[in-house]
């Protein structure tokens, strides 16, 4: 008995020591630029590489080195992970994982394929995507569509443990990439269109046991908020249980705030950061307390959370879009960077929200420093009040003010947001952010809807079309100054830019297009340096690594996701072309959106079928040695 307790004490001491540092294997792997060790490149989410073998001078010579078909034909989000001589790639449902041998390019070391109930497919609102695996401590962590979190042996692909994070018969699913910090692996939950109540959950990396779960809505105890300590706009929240009182009745129980985006981590401050999604139904009237917007923040949907990874306690919160009326689902990545602001180095967090505003916050305190539109055509709010942190909503574009069964027209951006999940990049060399964006507006008609567990809980129709009176395309790739809150340069694109960006020390930034092009641009001015058409549209993230001392660039192609879901089967070329023409017709002025909106909806992404089809391919590029 004594021996046992001594042994227990010893293991507790070891555990405590283990949790005193960030995950050593990840930090070590991230510090070596020859790897691409995590989905966002590093804990800060910068998607930047200090490699410079491929640079502005020689990128024009870049060619395909090798490629690999995943065998799955759906939207491929996320990207490859490289640790040492092994590359790990994943697929959409049924969420296969391949470990590929870089010494023998494309040779499969092991393959994992789960057996999942296919009835999970129709509850995935926006394609059966998955944003990739995490690799740490000799394990590969995969969050499967059917809510299973699985830890695989990185050497063999064998299952070590499994945990059940949700129930697809209630509309819950998993799409986000897990994040590993210390001895915990974090997963969110998807299902914002099914009335799912969001949460972030920590599991023990060694056993798969749940350590803590923090909900996005409900009583403070569930949300892990202490209103006397957790701050909002620099002050303690004060009021209790706002996650209940800012909702009518028990609507918070189907209040959304799902957590399907990216998670970042600051090891010095010991804080993890993530955003919560849209509040339940898209019909704001059903989420209003006493029909009064000012009482109806629907907390803590649309909120950036900074939490202690050990306990889950919320250190600070910031709600970007209180009382959402447009599906500006606030889950986008929070990039951590140190930037110069008015002559001072500041530790900031930068978030390019779906609502079209880019927020720069002090990441230690949550103080709001900058909130500016990163697409000048954003019109639903004039600006953000820097004292309260609240957007000043324009009544004309308020789907709540206009009411149920009324079609609110020409709202910019569309529900897809000025930017969706496609992660941006930050270069410490230039101090600028490189951001893939959407340039789409919408008509939005909310109406009354009933909740049934496991069925869609939307209550709105949305028609989307390219931003009127602009360049006619549906996307931009921009460089952003987060200190000044200004666009530095902007490159128009025909379709939404739905792929994750990469910036490099070589002065080249990369992004993919829905048509399937991998594009390399000069980070200085956005000028195109090179492009290549991969087999299918790109919604994956561009990564880079070295092998045997040589730099490679890798990306998954496979059109899909929300942007690609409109890809029509059976729509004739003629119909698509006509729709496109109508949607981008120069005479299509703001306010007349209603006349052509329907055609716009057809046009929005359906004409994509003229450029690409479904696929699932990894393409790896290099610059061949001079002969």
């Amino acid at each position: 008995m004594k021996v046992l307790s001594r042994w227990l004490l010893a293991s507790v001491a070891v555990l405590a020591a283990g949790s005193a540092s960030a995950n050593d294997s990840i930090l070590k792997n991230q510090a070596n630029p020859n790897n691409w060790a995590s989905q966002l490149g590093n804990y800060a989410g910068q998607r930047y590489s200090p490699l410079e073998q491929i640079n502005t001078n020689n990128v024009k010579n870049m060619q395909v080195a090798w490629s690999f078909s995943t065998g799955v034909l759906r939207g491929h989000e996320g990207g490859p992970i490289v640790v040492g001589d092994v590359m790990y790639i994943h697929t959409p449902f049924p969420n296969k994982v391949f470990a590929l041998d870089l010494n023998n390019p494309g040779r499969v070391i092991w393959k994992y394929e789960s057996v999942q109930d296919p009835t999970v497919i129709p509850i995935m609102c926006c394609d059966t995507v998955n944003r990739g695996v995490a690799v740490a401590d000799g394990k590969v962590f995969l969050a499967q569509a059917d809510n299973t979190l699985v830890a695989l042996d990185a050497n063999t692909g064998k299952e070590i443990w499994k945990a059940k994070n949700g129930d697809h018969t209630k509309g819950e699913s998993l799409t986000a990439a897990p994040l590993v910090v210390k001895d915990k692996v974090f997963v969110g939950i998807s299902g914002g269109e099914f009335g799912v109540r969001g949460h972030l959950t920590a599991y023990d990396t060694n056993t798969g046991k749940m350590v803590w779960r923090a909900f996005s809505t409900g009583p403070d105890a569930d949300v892990k908020i202490d209103p006397s300590k957790t701050t909002m706009m620099g002050k303690p929240i004060g009021q209790k249980d706002l996650g209940v009182s800012t909702w009518p009745g028990e609507e918070w129980k189907r209040g959304g705030g799902t957590t399907w985006g990216w998670y970042t981590y600051d090891p010095e401050l010991n804080l993890i950061y993530y955003g919560t999604g849209n509040p339940g139904t898209w019909n704001p009237t059903q989420r209003a307390v006493d029909k009064d917007r000012s009482k109806s923040d629907n907390k803590w949907s649309m909120t950036i959370f900074a939490r202690d990874p050990d306990t889950g306690e919320a250190k600070w919160v910031y709600q970007k879009t209180p009382f959402d009326e447009w599906d500006f689902d606030g889950v986008n990545e929070n990039i951590l960077a140190n930037i110069n602001m008015n002559g001072q180095q500041r530790k900031v967090l930068v978030n390019f929200d779906r609502n079209g505003f880019a927020y720069t916050l002090d990441r230690a305190t949550g103080e709001l420093l900058v909130a500016q539109k990163f697409d000048p055509t954003v019109n639903w709010a004039t600006d953000v009040d820097m004292k309260t942190g609240r957007p000043n909503v324009v009544d004309k574009y308020s789907t709540f003010a206009n009411g149920e069964d009324k079609n609110t027209t020409a709202v910019c951006p569309a529900a897809l947001g000025s930017k969706d999940q496609q992660p941006a990049s930050f270069s410490p060399d230039t101090g600028l952010f490189y951001v893939p964006t959407n340039h789409i507006c919408m008509d939005y008609e909310p109406f009354s809807v009933s909740y049934t567990a496991g069925q869609a809980y939307v209550g709105s129709t949305v028609s989307m079309y390219p931003t009127p009176n602009s360049h006619g395309g549906m996307g931009n790739f921009i460089a952003w100054d987060a200190a000044a809150g200004k666009i530095v340069w902007s490159r128009p694109e025909r379709f939404a830019v739905w792929s994750g960006a990469l910036s490099t020390k070589g002065g080249v930034a990369y992004y993919g297009t829905l048509e399937g092009y991998l594009v390399a641009v000069d980070m200085k001015d956005g000028k195109e340096l090179w492009r290549f058409k991969t087999p299918s549209g790109i919604i994956g993230n561009i990564n880079t690594y070295t092998h045997n001392g040589k730099q490679y660039v890798a990306v998954l192609s496979g059109v899909g996701g929300w942007a690609g879901i409109g890809l029509a089967a059976g729509l004739t070329q003629e119909a698509g072309a006509q729709a496109w023409h109508n949607a981008v017709h120069p005479g299509h002025a703001e306010g007349t959106g209603v006349a052509t909106a329907g055609l716009g909806a057809v046009g929005a992404h359906q004409s994509l079928g003229e450029y690409t089809q479904l696929g699932g391919v990894l393409t790896v590029f290099h610059v061949p040695d001079q002969k």
Binding site: P122, Q455, S463
Partner: protein, 150 residues
């Protein structure tokens, strides 16, 4: 057991539907038109549609379109209903919506869920049919239709 319940609900809705038809004939033909044999029908006049067809447009584009595509023109997930409704009868249509269908494609990803317990669908089934039938017959172009009488 589950199947029984679903059919129970279907029967209930059919009964309610017959009630609604009687009302429609008596009071508001333009709101919920039907053919002489009782099948839901639509009115398209000068590019405007009856209220039922408009409601069908809305309900379709709140739930069904994520797989069946905008304007019911299909997507890589599920077939174009503007095409399928050329062949499916009203009864076939109801059967598939209520019970779902598991018809796995080459990549194992074609599944039609059951909507038998979803009031947003079941309470609007006739209107969704009206909209889809108008699309299938080529009577209604893509996009948001206008309601007769606004």
């Amino acid at each position: 057991m589950l199947m029984k319940r679903r059919f129970g609900i279907l029967t209930g809705i059919l009964a309610a539907g017959i009630g609604a038809l009687a009302c429609a004939t008596a009071f508001a033909e333009d709101d919920a038109p039907v053919t002489p044999d009782g099948t839901p029908a639509y009115i398209v006049k000068d590019g405007q549609v009856d209220k039922g067809t408009y409601n069908g447009y809305r309900r379709f584009h709140a739930t069904c379109h994520v797989c069946h595509g905008f304007d019911a023109s299909g997507s890589s997930f599920a077939p174009s209903l503007a095409d399928s409704l050329k062949r499916l009868s009203y009864d076939d249509f109801k059967e598939v919506v209520v019970n779902g269908r598991q018809n796995q494609g080459a990549t194992g990803d074609k599944v039609m869920p059951s909507f038998g317990l979803d009031p947003n669908i079941m309470n609007n089934l006739d209107d969704i049919y009206r909209y889809l039938k108008a699309r299938a017959d080529g009577a209604l172009p893509g996009g948001r239709p206008q309601r007769i009488g606004g």
